[in-house]
Amino acid sequence: MTHGRLSPFLRQRLLFLLAGNVALLAAIAVTVKQGGSFGEVLARCGPNVAPVVLAGLSLTGIICAGAIDLSIASIIVVAGTVFGILVHRQWPPLPCFAACALTAWGLSAWNGFLVRRLNVPAIIITLAGLALYRGVALILADVAIPNFGGSLDVPQEAYHAPGKQLAGWILLAALVGALVWEWFARTPRRWLALGSSEEACRLAGLDPRAILQSAFNVGGFFLGLAALVYVTQIQFIEPARMALGFELQVIGAVILGGTNIFGGEGSYAGTALGALFLYFTSQWMTYAGISPYFQEAITGAIIIAVIGLDCALHRRRKLLEELA
């Protein structure tokens, strides 16, 4: 029926990931001795994978629209620092949560604004943001907290609700919401249009910059949720060291999920499956006894292999098109 919405390539990728995830789950079940532990694995899956999936939902829209955001991890750090400062000031949990999510949302929207106004490529703006936001977080922490020792302790359980008990539900709600929105809203289709051909959008009377800004705005919403869940899961908030390398995990999940790095093609479902795939891979490697040191290397190798294969398959056609 809707074979236009999901190209053969995306369909293949989704099937591959689905099959892969099932296979990995089976492999984990086999490697884990008791049945009880396996249930634990599934239960822990939600909270553990939630930040990556939520951030991935944010990044998917942005990449579909033809841009990228390398600063998502640093945005989470700022949001976390704001959260930590408010906790330190003994604000009640709910306003802290709100402040955390809104900070992340605002910074994402700010990225979009800078790309629009300065006419500098998104990759540069967000690469700069990668460093800049982390520095801002550190400065904020220093300024707001006397004798800041580098880490903020968040002991009370009340503050950890979204990250621990509610993470799975937040993820589910966000994912369902994202899929429904992707299906029934026009904006995601405009992102794909922009990623396909900016020229066609212009000719149709659409404003490419406004479309890109909307991708960052909506992305900010999901990033806010991701920040909330990530930040409330950890015991200590250390602006200098938290979420290091997080953006790479997220980009890996998005690309694995079948989103085209140049824009124009992508899906939320793919991103979620991609994130799950990477998570189950690392879980299986842990249970199979593979040293954690090898894990990062293997994850990187998988991502490179998938991307390399994707690109190589397109290469010949691209070359002919380029020369003509």
Binding site: H3, S7, L192, A200, G264, L323
Partner: protein, 519 residues
């Protein structure tokens, strides 16, 4: 009845070049106007002015009785002027329905979500109004070139377009698809839509249009009813000036013997006495060209004529080594030749001047000196370092030989005129003293003076014993410069003309696939 569109004294210049002299043109509703002209005559500039890409420097556009100024292509579309470009801009990953409705409000459910069923229903309705039977659920990129064009036209009509501008619409269409297009256009004409049909294919113009307008060097030199038109008259109006002044070769031959046919034969005889430089024997590549065979001798200029999409540039690229052939044999100087890339060709003394100089030839912000020396500085290196003084001497010599006008060696090549840019790329290769020179549309978008200079250079090359393969869509150029003409149509050679059989009619007929045997 008042004309739908009236252009009064429209002028447009780019830098120092006049693209459109004061041009006055009218178009009525329900009229199909064929716009013809050589390359560089101003057709694409006129289209860009009408479609809102460029604003005219002077003059007025009256549309439906009112003077209008378009600030963007979107303005023109809103006003009712739709342009179907040769290179369609579309969103490949979206469905046909979404492309049809891009930029318009989409049907919504009461609760705010997009009503996909309705969207597809309305899209199907739009398509069926144009008698198109394409599923609106398909991804746009999966449509054939003809289908994409048909949907683009349907889109324009749904936006209440009153003027449809078609730029070389049949370039990538097959015979039956062209027929379908014509039926659709005739139906639109009956509905009162005006059509501006821009094409090189003269027989199509004769078949479809009501009136013909001829552009030459930015001016409208003739406009007449199609009943009064024929191929010869159109070509003559397009070229305008006596052939011998522009094409030195003919003149040289005419002067030397007084009989063009005899002179051509003598020349061919002369060149066949020396061994052929380049031979192609049943060379084919899937989807591009098939069964190509010819020989190219020193001192010979072979013209390769044909319509856009005939496969000439693809053949040239295969000869140059940019892609391999599936079958057949190529021989250079008698030895079997399989270039793995342009480096092999350059080392063997074969060069290729690409078709689109902006996209395939230059880096616009680089200096003209570097753009020229990139072609031969590898011959001047010592341990990888270029000998600067030699380089400068060679560049200056090249600029003098090709008569390139630039303020200095460091002038940015993007700021030179089209003619000088083209000469620069030519100079790049000529400094290597190549034996075989393949030229692809060497005078496209070049002013008359530079054109004559380039022709002089080509003639000199042949005189010095080089072999030239001249690909050109410019009929008079091909006829005037070549010793022999090969005509391609849809990937194969349909005619080989020499001597008395080198006429415009024969070339056009063979290029349109209407006659397969040479006279």
């Amino acid at each position: 009845m008042a004309p739908l569109l009236q252009l009064r004294a429209i002028e447009k210049s780019f830098g120092g070049t006049r693209a459109l002299h004061p041009l006055t043109l009218t178009l009525a509703s329900g009229e199909v106007l064929g716009l013809i002209g050589e390359n560089g005559a101003g057709k694409s500039t006129l289209i860009k002015v009408l479609s809102g890409v460029h604003a005219p420097d002077a003059g007025a556009i009256e549309w439906r009785g009112q003077t209008v100024g378009f600030h963007s292509p979107h303005d023109a579309m809103e006003a009712g002027i739709a342009t179907i470009h040769q290179e369609l801009a579309y969103c490949g990953h979206l469905t046909v329905a979404e492309n049809l409705f891009l930029g318009e409000p989409w049907p919504r459910h009461r609760w705010g979500g997009v009503d996909w069923k309705n969207l597809h229903a309305e899209a199907s309705a739009r398509l069926s109004r144009c008698q198109l039977d394409i599923s609106t659920h398909r991804a746009f990129a999966s449509l054939s070139a003809a289908q994409k064009q048909e949907v683009a036209i349907a889109r324009a009509l749904a936006r209440q377009a009153r003027l449809l501008i078609l730029d070389e619409p049949t370039a990538s269409l097959s015979g039956p698809e062209v027929e379908r297009l014509f039926i659709q256009l005739k139906r639109l004409r009956a509905e009162g839509v005006a059509i501006l049909y821009v094409s090189h294919r003269l027989e199509e113009i004769l078949k479809l249009t009501d009136r013909v307008a001829v552009l030459r060097d930015g001016e409208l030199v003739a406009a007449y009813a199609v009943a009064d038109a024929n191929v010869n008259r159109m070509v003559k109006d397009m070229v305008g000036r006596p052939l011998d002044q522009v094409y030195p070769r003919t003149r040289h031959l005419a002067q030397s013997s007084g009989n063009r046919c005899e002179a051509a034969l003598t020349n061919a005889e002369r060149s066949t006495r020396s061994a052929p430089l380049l031979e192609l024997d049943s060379v084919s590549r899937q989807g591009m060209f098939r069964d190509i065979s010819f020989t190219l001798c020193p001192g010979e200029i072979i013209g390769l004529a044909g319509l856009i999409g005939a496969g000439r540039s693809e053949l040239a690229r295969a000869i140059y080594g940019l892609y391999p052939c599936d079958s057949g044999v190529m021989r250079l100087r008698g030895h079997s030749w399989l270039p793995r890339g342009p480096e092999d060709s350059l080392a063997a003394g074969l060069v290729y001047l690409p078709e689109e100089r902006k996209r395939q030839g230059l880096v616009p912000d680089h200096p003209v000196g570097d753009s020229i020396s990139i072609g031969f500085s590898d011959l001047l290196t010592y341990w990888g370092i270029i000998r600067r003084r030699d380089e400068r001497t060679r560049i200056s010599a090249a600029m003098r030989t090709c008569d390139i006008r630039a303020s200095s060696l460091t002038q940015t090549i993007g700021t030179l005129s089209g003619g000088n840019q083209q000469k620069a790329i030519l100079a790049r290769w000529l400094e290597r003293k190549p034996d075989v020179i393949v030229l692809d549309e060497p005078t496209r978008g070049v002013d008359v003076g530079a054109k004559a200079e380039i022709h002089r250079l080509i003639d000199q090359l042949a005189g010095n014993g080089r072999a030239v393969l001249l690909i050109s869509s410019d009929l008079p150029e091909v006829l005037g410069m070549s010793d022999r003409i090969l005509v391609m149509h849809e990937g194969s050679i349909t005619a080989e003309l020499h001597g008395a059989s080198m006429t415009q009619e024969n070339v056009l007929l063979a290029a349109s696939g209407l006659q397969s045997a040479p006279i």
